[in-house]
Amino acid sequence: MPPRVPLSVPLRLLQRLGVFVASVVVASLLVFLVASALPGNVAQVVLGVQATPEAVARLEQEFGLDRPWPVRYGAWFAGLLRFDLGRSYLTGQPVLDQVLPRLGVTSWLVGLAMVLALLVAVPLGMWAAVRRRHADGFLASALSQVGLAVPSFWLGILASLVFAVQLGWFPANGYVPLSAGFGPWARHLVLPVVALSAVQSAVLARYVRSATVEVLHEDYYRTARAGGWRTVQALLRHGLRNMSLSVVTVVGLQLATLLAGAIIIESVFALPGLGRLLLDAVAQRDLMVVQGVVLLLVVAVLAINALVDMSYALLDPRLRIERGQVR
């Protein structure tokens, strides 16, 4: 029996890429089918409540909605191969042109919220873990719990009431692109980012706390302290990287949640982001836009999960595959 030959590294990467592409293809079909299955009809929405059935039928024909679904899917998929997401039924514009500027807004919002959540959650969770047998540690845990219990749209409303309306520190809502200057851009993002990250911080803090508790039980942590590091030093030098594995997993997992949360925050703060685009497109049954945005989200989540998988090896050398190395 010949020994099984393990795949070489480039081949494994290729295999991974293959799986990714296959997932995207399957996802595109699913996205298309779900979007098509949504009840309601864009022509009716465009023409409004007064429209005659003939007018609606004519518009449907104009949009190509009368063709059978495999044909429509085929056309859409062929476009995808050329990075063409089709044209919005409502505006006639290429979907990609509508999506790209909004992608920026949402990426900033979600990205910064994630960063802020990490900045808050990591110290808070560690504190809650290290001091878990003390009142202050319990308080830190409780604080993170409270963050979970407040709906983010109320947090957004409250934040804009207090910091924009009462104190006038930040604009109540709206967005200016980074190209208009860092200051205005940042000022407009502060409140939405804070409101969006609150729930995330709470969730993350819980994971950081339990990951930290794990580390506190680890032998290498004790070794570090026996070598002369103080509690916090040992945790930072030897705990952080070890914890990062589980935290990164959660960060990857939370990203989809964050995107969903962004839909609400974008409404509360009147930000022209993807979430609102999707919400409007769904409401108006602009299926091309719905398909485009959802596919984009699916690809993003798949890509992020793939990145998370790959980052494991970066964070934990045990998971690296090395030439001539066992495990």
Binding site: S23, L38, A149, P151
Partner: protein, 277 residues
């Protein structure tokens, strides 16, 4: 402090559940009857929490809302867990297996990723078209949307458990894959799943609020906490208490379930059991 979490959690959860049960038999006022003369009364002896813009007693509405909250939370989490956990265990155990099961596991995981990226709202709209906007619609949509995290968490925990010696020992004892999954993997991943469930419970209540806003959940006029929050929004300036009560109710229930989850995890942790032996 660990016990404190469990006890507080239990008290809050029991409070919510009992309120829900009580509301089936008794509420101080009819939670649906509009009484124009009583609009926007503050808290007082007649109406402990005051009345809303229709003159309906807020306490009665909060009590009825507990019903939907508990129902949606429990059912959605149950759906997510009942689908996600077995699939997660499947994916976790198959990851180490021969080619075919591994392929199945891969497909499950990729499908999971795709589902994860899918906005729950779309599912809800689709369901609403079939079932009509109802509590069931919301429960199913939220439940399905919650499958991916359960699946992932269960899979990761399964991977850990399935390399442990006692699983190998069980195989040596002639226990098949299914027996191992049910008898060894499931009990040992239970703590992680409990935590995930408590997190998901809180999120479900909040998601229901969002779906009811779009008319995709419990139909009018049944008061839900989410709907009460939404209806309170225009009164944010003039009568902020309208938002405070349902907000508080959601907060306490979510807090209760999270604390309960934490407490359960600690209770189920053999490491901790050992030290109090």
């Amino acid at each position: 402090m660990k016990r404190a979490a469990l006890v507080i959690g239990l008290v809050l959860v029991a409070g919510t559940v009992l309120t829900a049960l009580l509301s089936l038999a008794w509420t101080p006022y009819d939670p649906l009857a509009v009484v124009p003369a009583n609009r926007l009364m503050g808290p007082g002896p007649g109406h402990w929490l005051g009345t809303d813009g229709y003159g309906i007693d807020l306490l009665s509405r909060i009590m009825v809302g507990a019903r939907i909250a508990v129902l949606v939370g429990v059912v959605a989490v149950a759906i997510a867990a009942l689908v996600g956990v077995p699939l997660g265990i499947l994916a976790g155990t198959a990851a180490k297996a021969e080619r075919w099961p591994r392929l199945v596991a891969d497909v499950v995981m990729r499908g999971n990723d795709i589902l994860y990226a899918f906005p729950a709202m779309l599912l809800a709209i689709l369901l609403a078209a079939v079932l009509g906007g109802s509590t069931a619609t919301a429960m199913i949509a939220i439940g399905v949307a919650n499958i991916p995290p359960f699946l992932r968490v269960a899979r990761a925990a399964t991977l850990q458990v399935s390399v442990s010696d006692f699983v190998t020992a069980a195989r040596g004892a002639g226990i098949g894959r299914f027996g191992i999954a049910v008898r060894h993997v499931l009990p040992n991943i239970a703590p992680v799943v409990a935590v995930q469930a408590s997190l998901a419970f809180g999120m479900s209540i909040l998601s229901e609020a969002a779906l009811s806003y779009l008319g995709l959940s419990t139909p009018l006029p049944t008061p839900t906490w989410g709907r009460m929050l939404n209806e309170a929004q225009p009164y944010a300036w003039s009568d902020p208490l309208l938002a405070v009560w349902p907000g508080l109710a959601i907060g306490l229930a979510v807090l209760g379930f999270n604390l309960l989850g934490d407490g359960l995890r600690d209770l189920l942790d053999p490491r901790l059991r050992e030290s109090v032996q």
